[in-house]
Symmetry: C2
Subunit: 230 residues, 2 copies
C-alpha cells in the first residue's frame, strides 16, 4: 500500500470547491444508484438521480434519501411535499449514462424523462411515475421529513407502498439478488461500477465461526478466512 496521507479539517477548508466536492463525496465509499420519480400538481413528471438512498427500517418498510438544497432536485422535493408520493427506480448498466444525464439543470417545465430518453410509467394505484426501463421499482408515500440544520439539506422518508421486481431475482429467503439485475453502484460524484459477489454471510453470533451462504441463502461447504480471529 502507498503512504498514508493525513488530511485535516483545515486542509479540507482550503480545497478548491469542486475538488473538495469530489473528495468529500468519495469518502462514503460505494453508494446506491436510484432515480426518484415525481409529478407536480399539474401532473408534469420529474426525474432525478440520487446516490443518497438509505434503508431506514423493515417494519414498517421505510426508505429515506437526502435531498440537496438549491439543486435541480429541488423540483423533486417540491413535488413530494405537494403530492406526498414518489418512486425509487433502480439503475442498471444499460441506463446508467441516461440516469446520469438527469442531473443536468433542465428547466422545471422540461421532463427529464423526455430529455434523456427514459419512459415514465404509471398505474392506477399511484400518482408518481415509475421508470419503465428500471428492473426494481418502488412506490412510496411521504412519511416524515427532517431539515438538517447544518447545511439546509433534507431527509425525506417514505413508506413502501408497492414493489415491482423480476420474480427470478427474489431468493428463497427473501434476499433480492440485485447483482443478477446488473444494478450499478456510484462512487464519488460521477463514477459508475458493476459488482462481483464475494459471498453472503450467515447472521453473526459471538463464539461462532462465520458461515458463508450461497446466493439463495443456503449453507455452503467452504469456509471464510477468519485467520486473525481468536
Amino acid at each position: 500500500m502507498s503512504q498514508e496521507k493525513q488530511i485535516t479539517k483545515q486542509h479540507l477548508g482550503s480545497m478548491e470547491s469542486r475538488y473538495r466536492a469530489r473528495f468529500i463525496n468519495s469518502l462514503t465509499g460505494f453508494k446506491s444508484a436510484n432515480l426518484v420519480g415525481t409529478v407536480d400538481q399539474q401532473g408534469n413528471p420529474n426525474l432525478a438521480i440520487v446516490s443518497s438512498v438509505v434503508h431506514i427500517g423493515s417494519n414498517p418498510p421505510l426508505i429515506g434519501f437526502i435531498n440537496r438544497p438549491n439543486s435541480v432536485e429541488r423540483h423533486t422535493l417540491e413535488n413530494i411535499l405537494a403530492t406526498k408520493s414518489f418512486t425509487l427506480n433502480s439503475i442498471d448498466e444499460d441506463i446508467a449514462a441516461l440516469a446520469h444525464q438527469t442531473s443536468a439543470r433542465y428547466p422545471k417545465n422540461q421532463s427529464e424523462f423526455q430529455a434523456v430518453g427514459l419512459t415514465p410509467y404509471t398505474d392506477n394505484d399511484f400518482i408518481a411515475p415509475f421508470v419503465l426501463e428500471s428492473g426494481l421499482k418502488i412506490a412510496l408515500t411521504l412519511k416524515e421529513h427532517h431539515i438538517i440544520k447544518a447545511n439546509d439539506t433534507e431527509l425525506i422518508i417514505g413508506e413502501v407502498e408497492q414493489v415491482r421486481v423480476p420474480s427470478d431475482a427474489i431468493q428463497p429467503d427473501g434476499y433480492l439478488d440485485v447483482e443478477s439485475m446488473d444494478l450499478v453502484t456510484i462512487s464519488g460524484l460521477d463514477s459508475y461500477h458493476v459488482t462481483q459477489r464475494l459471498y453472503r454471510l450467515d447472521y453473526a453470533k459471538p463464539d461462532k465461526a462465520l458461515e458463508p451462504l450461497s446466493v439463495s441463502g443456503e449453507k455452503t461447504e467452504w469456509k471464510v478466512n477468519q485467520s486473525t480471529m481468536d
Copy 2:
C-alpha cells in the same frame, strides 16, 4: 428478463419477519460498508459495522448514518452522545468477514476489536479509535442528531475532522479511487461485493452529450452510448 412480480404493502405486512427484513434491506441496492469506531467515557472501545452511511454535504464536510434501535449498535449511539466523537473506517475485501462478525451481539464490556481481530488505533488529536487495517479512516465530531419518529431510529451527523487515506488513491481532480483500494459494497443484510468500474462521467449539462472521463478525471476518446437520447 423474467416476469415482473408486483408486491403490495399488504404482501409486505404478511411476510415472515426475517424474510421481510432481508427483502426490504435489499431494496436500496448497493450500500456503503463502514465500521463505526467509538469509546465510552471509561475509554472502552466499541466497533460496529454499518451499511447506512450517507453523504450529507461537502462544505462543511458532513457525513451521516442511521443508527438502529435495540441493537448492538446502541452502544455506538450511547458512546457518540457521551463523547461527541466517532470514526468511520472503510471495509475492503481482506477484512469484510471480520467486519461482518462485529454485528454479533457482544456484551458491552467486550471490545469487538478484540473479539473479531481488528486493531484499534488512536492518535493524540482524537479520542475515538480508528481501525488500523482500514485503508480509508475518517474522524468525525457529532454535529446533529435526529430521531426518526416512524420507527425510533436515529440519524447521526458528524463533521469531518480528519481523513487518512493512501496518497495513491487521490486523483488529480479530488476524486478518490475507492475501487483501487478494494473496498466492498453490501447488498441486503449480508451480501458482500467488490466492483468493476464502468466509467466516470463528466458533469451533465442540458443539450450536451455526456463525456466519459478516465479514472484520473481526464477526457477520453470513446463515447458513452446514449442511443435513446434525442
